[in-house]
Symmetry: C2
Subunit: 161 residues, 2 copies
């Protein structure tokens, strides 16, 4: 159960490297992947109350919260870390346990979710561009075929109200 009134959820993990499929095999065409090396993987999910304000808060959380360990052990934000960002849409984060199954009644409409996702990716790119950081992202609505290597995933959940 997420906190009442949440409009989005983030799961943030550190990585040494991560690789995500952005286009599956189609006909004779091979799958397409994006990669980051050291940095942060942000799993994102929009819930029913999400809007532009939610997106702005998510960008702040992703880029500014001090969740990345430098070599000296000091925690810094992804803005200050020598590292990049991979954004992974993950609608399953909106699930609520009901018996032995998860239900997704709180998840946002797919079209609206797709629009907000595009806004989030663009805003993260704009914010991180000033520091010459790469921002890669998964394709909204796809299966997210993901591999991640960590020196400690240092997993955090942020419910965005």
């Amino acid at each position: 159960m997420e906190a009442k009134g949440a409009s989005a959820r983030l799961v943030l993990q550190q990585c040494i490297s991560a690789k995500l499929q952005v286009k599956p095999i189609t006909g004779s065409e091979e799958a397409v992947y994006v990669n980051i090396s050291r940095g942060m993987v942000a799993f994102v999910c929009f819930l029913k109350q999400a809007d532009q304000t939610t997106v702005n808060k998510m960008v702040d959380h992703i880029t500014q919260v001090k969740l990345s360990k430098q070599d000296d052990g000091k925690l810094v934000s992804i803005l200050d870390l020598p590292g990049d960002l991979l954004i992974v849409p993950q609608a399953t984060l909106g699930g609520r346990l009901k018996g032995k199954r998860m239900q997704y009644h709180q998840n946002i409409d797919k079209n609206l979710g797709s629009e907000l996702y595009a806004q989030l990716v663009e805003a993260c790119k704009q914010t991180l561009k000033q520091k010459n950081k790469a921002v890669e992202c998964g394709t909204y609505g796809n299966l997210q075929v993901l591999s991640i290597q960590t020196n400690g995933p240092y997993t955090h959940i942020i419910d965005v109200s």
Copy 2:
């Protein structure tokens, strides 16, 4: 912000394979790792109200909730999936955002958390033994050096009350 009254948090992900360090390099000794192939990675965090009842609920959630996709796309529990379980202690899941930092005031005392973790691992082993499934686990209190490969992490969060 997790739901009020939560006594533990779980983050569950599917994997094709996962590798976790259970002993870091010490002196001349090499690091030690455990592996699973296809199965589920369960990140676990105990909060202040956790007790034996919490552990029992977590075991039920981990082993019985239908969160693993079979080859035919049908969702089954890890008990029914041809696959294994990797349990990763992840105290950071108890974090709450305060400004630009996470705080961990709700996390359980380390010694008590370590005891409950040992109980959880043992109970999962007992439950999954009947289906000949491997249960691997990280060392409580260590940095969790983890790599994971997925065909879709299918990430779910369960707050255990």
